[in-house]
Symmetry: C2
Subunit: 258 residues, 2 copies
Amino acid sequence: PSRVIAIANQKGGVGKTTTAVNLAACLADKGLQVLLVDVDPQANATSGLGLVKREMCSIYPVLLGEKTIRQQVVSTSLPGLDAIPAELDLAGAEVDIARGEQYLHRLREALADLRKDLQYDFVFLDCPPSLGILTVNALVAADAVLIPLQCEYYALEGLSVMVGLVQRLRAGATNPDLHVEGILMTMYDRRTNLAQQVVHEVRRHFPALLYDTLIPRTVRLGEAPSHGVPVTRYDPRGIAAQAYRQLAAEFMVRHGLS
Amino acid sequence: PSRVIAIANQKGGVGKTTTAVNLAACLADKGLQVLLVDVDPQANATSGLGLVKREMCSIYPVLLGEKTIRQQVVSTSLPGLDAIPAELDLAGAEVDIARGEQYLHRLREALADLRKDLQYDFVFLDCPPSLGILTVNALVAADAVLIPLQCEYYALEGLSVMVGLVQRLRAGATNPDLHVEGILMTMYDRRTNLAQQVVHEVRRHFPALLYDTLIPRTVRLGEAPSHGVPVTRYDPRGIAAQAYRQLAAEFMVRHGLS
Ligand SMILES: Nc1ncnc2c1ncn2[C@@H]1O[C@H](COP(=O)(O)OP(=O)(O)OP(=O)(O)O)[C@@H](O)[C@H]1O
Ligand SMILES: Nc1ncnc2c1ncn2[C@@H]1O[C@H](COP(=O)(O)OP(=O)(O)OP(=O)(O)O)[C@@H](O)[C@H]1O
Ligand SMILES: [Mg+2]
Ligand SMILES: [Mg+2]
């Protein structure tokens, strides 16, 4: 059955979308079947994959029960990687979704039949920088959460809030299987003490969760989205593509594949 | 009367909090009386100023009508700079606030008597990375919006959404005076083409709004918050303190002070 992984962190700008797009692409390159769902109204993963935002073509009508998830899936330029784009109206979705019953379980229910068939090995959910209804829907739907973390002080401060929420959702039986599958350090600049100190702190508190792969800060990751392709297509031999390929290998080991 | 400035951008990690803390500090250093309100449940501005998060001491009870704004004001280590800290419960506030009448006008009403007296020259509102109820409350309360913008492609994509929302709030008579007072480029690295291209694009579309001051990328701005002080105290002669002092001078000219 496909595993559903939320990529979430309420702290903004930590590399959630960059990780969603590039990890999904690297896993597809290794022969896995992957679906990336853009749950963020900013629709950055949508443009990072070169897709267009079109009304009624996002996860939004699925969350309102107006469409099935299968109807929204589109292919990307990469074999093995499908996606569900976002639309700007998603921002208004939170209020509409909240009117319905069981509104925190909408995405979980919508993904139910996709999970049962074997079409995808992994389904990734790229989340907005908040703990609102869209992110909580993703956490309730997910089997596990991957938390990208910038090597910065403010990002470190917010980590315990995210980990705490995952624990509450698990304990409260909303999603008893939910766990943190890993913490990924991003924008790592080994020349600064700050980055080394933050990595050291995370390794001290969450040694088993911390990925060995550290994603380096490189402008190539900022340039690739303007071309609508993952960094593995934009700069295939650069340090960013190497780092995300290494992350994909580590991720597969954690999930019993290799 | 004090002018209320929202510091907002739904894109995460663009430098909203860093700008709120350091601009407010530089204006206080120039002799102005400034209040910084942390409207973000992440409470980064609170820790960036060395304040503690305490229950019932934030803007949250004010938005629910349980306290007045004056009751929540605390002083900081900087003469001329007061603050209202955030608390984690603010994240739950959005649902509670939405139950009341006129829930988008709560902050505007709460600030009404502070505006009338001459205690503060400026009140800054540090917003979370979303267009939810807390940010809209800040936009409805504000006279103007300062939009920090990272020199990155994804950040550029989101700019028109923010500008569009401001225009809708003005046109819809929710806040007829609201306007964008400026766009500030942050984390500028002059060695990269990406940064130069993004600045060029913003200058092409919004020449009158773009601040001349470009805030350079420097690790000092990442280090200062872990010491709970603005960069003007942490590294007073560095390039970050110089840039924010220059911004403060430019800001004062735009608001008819110098
Ligand atoms: N390792 C890196 N090196 C350099 N730039 C990076 C790196 N990772 C991401 N970026 C850039 O930093 C910015 C923030 O990353 P991204 O948008 O992926 O974060 P996010 O957590 O998804 O943000 P949001 O909270 O707004 O959803 C983007 O412009 C991206 O291109
Ligand atoms: N000019 C700069 N150079 C280097 N680092 C910076 C700069 N400005 C901000 N930072 C760091 O980048 C990170 C993001 O900045 P900040 O938290 O101020 O953004 P934000 O827009 O308030 O984020 P959020 O969307 O989560 O509220 C922080 O860790 C901050 O210390
Ligand atoms: Mg994102
Ligand atoms: Mg902030």
